[in-house]
């Protein structure tokens, strides 16, 4: 069942109540924001639980089993616990920076969904620079990590923050370059156009099939962007104890924590939209395809995390600049030649 007609009908309902278009637009915008926020909050809670389950089964454990069926309510209980915790600010912390870091992190993580096509016609706003917007807004997360590292007045946090800044600068480049290949073929930065460009072959005209190298580079860079193992240096537990969020407690910690999982969902959703055909697909409703592809990507990221060891910080830089960036340029060259030659 497609969801877009439901929203159109609701909007029509607002108009039929005698409201002007501007008021109706305002109400629908607020409603959409609430819906997207609610959806993502549920997704984040679900992903935390899922990660624990995936890790448990990879490690031959059960994971959470006590609260609800196979522990499905575990993260809700955990979030409630974190809400009640005392919110501690270290005495020598830079209070403003310390306060705003988790807020910025949280907001930026959610803001990326403005241009995300969840399904056929399910997009909050189809900006013509959609993909550029996502890349720009997700980069802000790094600033918040740096702020958290600096504001905490803790040496481990500082090292974590510095690492995250270095990592972001390095991996942003191959990430954007790998997305560029798709933009070149599509001829548009709008997310809707990118999805529409992959509608052929019954919804299996995926960019990943034409640009496997680009897809690979994207996955690697995205893993680094989401601070996941093998690139989870900013919060390397065994070296920096917890990294940038070491001084955070209570709800501020929960905001970092949830934002991390939302970020993971974001990079997976971009991968699904840009490389794996977005919501295109036969038989099932479009939003099911989108969710399925995204969750499959999330699973791959989780799989990485529970299998691989971590890179060292200089190796991380070397890998980005000496391997990924040249490969990304090669991919652009390849896409350019093929687009000209085979008229993609």
């Amino acid at each position: 069942m497609e969801l877009a007609p439901v929203f159109t009908w609701l909007y029509g309902l607002l108009l039929s109540l005698g409201l002007g278009t501007s008021v109706a637009d305002l109400i629908s915008l607020v409603a959409l924001a609430v819906i997207v926020f609610g959806f993502l909050a549920v997704v984040a809670l679900f992903l935390v639980w899922w990660e624990r389950k995936v890790s448990a089964h990879i490690q031959q454990r059960f994971g959470p089993m006590m609260t609800g069926w196979h522990g499905v309510f575990q993260t809700i209980i955990d979030a409630l616990k974190l809400l009640q915790k005392e919110d501690i600010t270290p005495a020598l912390a830079d209070r403003k920076v310390f306060f705003w870091a988790p807020v910025i992190c949280f907001v930026c993580a959610f803001a990326a969904y403005v241009v995300m096509p969840f399904g056929k016609g399910l997009i909050v706003s189809d900006l013509n620079i959609g993909i550029l917007y996502i890349v720009a807004i997700t980069t802000f997360t790094i600033i918040s990590l740096l702020m958290a590292g600096w504001g905490s007045n803790n040496k481990y946090a500082l090292l974590g923050g510095m690492r995250s800044a270095a990592q972001a600068v390095s991996y942003e480049v191959p990430l954007v370059l790998s997305l560029l290949g798709v933009v070149m073929v599509t001829g548009s930065m709008s997310m809707n156009d990118i999805v529409a460009g992959q509608a052929g072959w019954g919804g299996f005209h995926w960019n990943a099939l034409f640009q496997p190298l680009g897809f690979l580079i994207y996955i690697i860079a995205a893993t680094a962007e989401a601070n996941r193992t093998p690139f989870d240096l900013p919060e390397a537990e065994q070296e920096l104890v917890a990294g940038f969020n070491i001084e955070y407690s209570g709800m501020k910690f929960a905001m970092f924590f949830l934002a991390e999982f939302v970020n993971m969902f974001t990079v997976s959703a971009i991968a699904a939209t840009v490389f794996l055909g977005g919501w295109n697909g036969p038989l099932l409703p479009s939003w099911v395809w989108f969710l399925g592809k995204t969750l499959a990507m999330v699973f791959v990221l989780m799989w990485f995390r529970w299998t691989y060891p971590r890179l060292r910080v200089d190796q991380l830089m070397e890998f980005a600049w000496k391997v990924l960036v040249p490969l990304a340029f090669l991919n652009i060259l390849y896409v350019g030649v093929m687009a000209k030659w085979l008229k993609w």
Partner: protein, 368 residues
Amino acid sequence: MAEQLRTEEMILNMGPHHPSTHGVCRLILTLDGEVIKNCVPVVGYLHRAIEKMVENRTYAQCIPLMDRFEYVTSMSCDWAFCLAAEKLTEITVPERAEYLRVIMAELNRIASHLVFMGVTAMDLGALTPFLYGFREREMIMDLFEMTCGQRLTYNYIRIGGVSKDIPPEFIGQCRHFLDIFPGKIKDYEKLLLKNPIWIARNRGIGIITEQMAYDYAISGPNARASGVNFDLRKDDPYSIYNRFEFDIPVLNGCDCYDRYIVRLEEMRQAARIIRQALDQLPGGEIRAKVPLKFKPEIGELYSRIENSRGEMGVYLVSDGSTKPFRLRARGGSYNHLQAIPDIVRGLKIADMVAIFASLDIIMPEIDR
């Protein structure tokens, strides 16, 4: 512009409460960014005065304390102490007890190396091998539990023998473990050894040259990964180790990678020894007649055995009373920790963690 920027070295207190210092070791690191300029280990946070407490206890009461000397392989610690006491009095241990001691000590070596394997991988960010290692360790713990009722500090090896005979189902269960274990070691190897990240993190990191190994008196698997072919089970055979066929893995990589492989190979060899010991296991007594008020002859001696972390030595002085006059125990980790500042200078914090883990340092052995 660059020379106007003022940069400072940062002093980072790693520990005593830090997830990857394996106990409570404090390392004062002087950092230039992420590069370690200097490293000063501070020990003593786990000091329990075992060597002093021993002086006020009878020999039998010392054994539980020796269990805690190094709780990851407490069988070997008991053994080192009992061996010293037995040598002082010239007690002959019954055959069956010797075999049981070998079986238990080698099982414990495997258990200890499994902990090493899991913890090393975890310190490098791979969280899963830890659980795999503990899965197999659990089977060994079950064997210990059915034998002596304990899972960590066994108090099993006693002066003149062992405390209890093995239950009848022990042999079957132990053989089952030995049957599946080689396959599990292959799994561990497949999981990490060829992983490019693992290689990048371990190859050429934490070099201990052969000369350094001699200078710091590094022993055990760490020395054998630096090309030093020295294993007390072969070179100064105690108990009945000369009856078994086994190889001493020696590698020349001198780095973290080879220290990991040496231990994986040692687990294989330990399994080989246990299998032979089970085949040859004779019947009979499990404990020599030792008087309740055990009084060794007046004298002093140093006896050593091959622990999973290197040479475990006990220097025992007896004044002929029921209590030891002086005990000095030597664990391998102390020397390994001493080598760390030399190794890590100029490397990164992440390397420091890798090296610390690969040396298999454990703090109770150092602080005692």
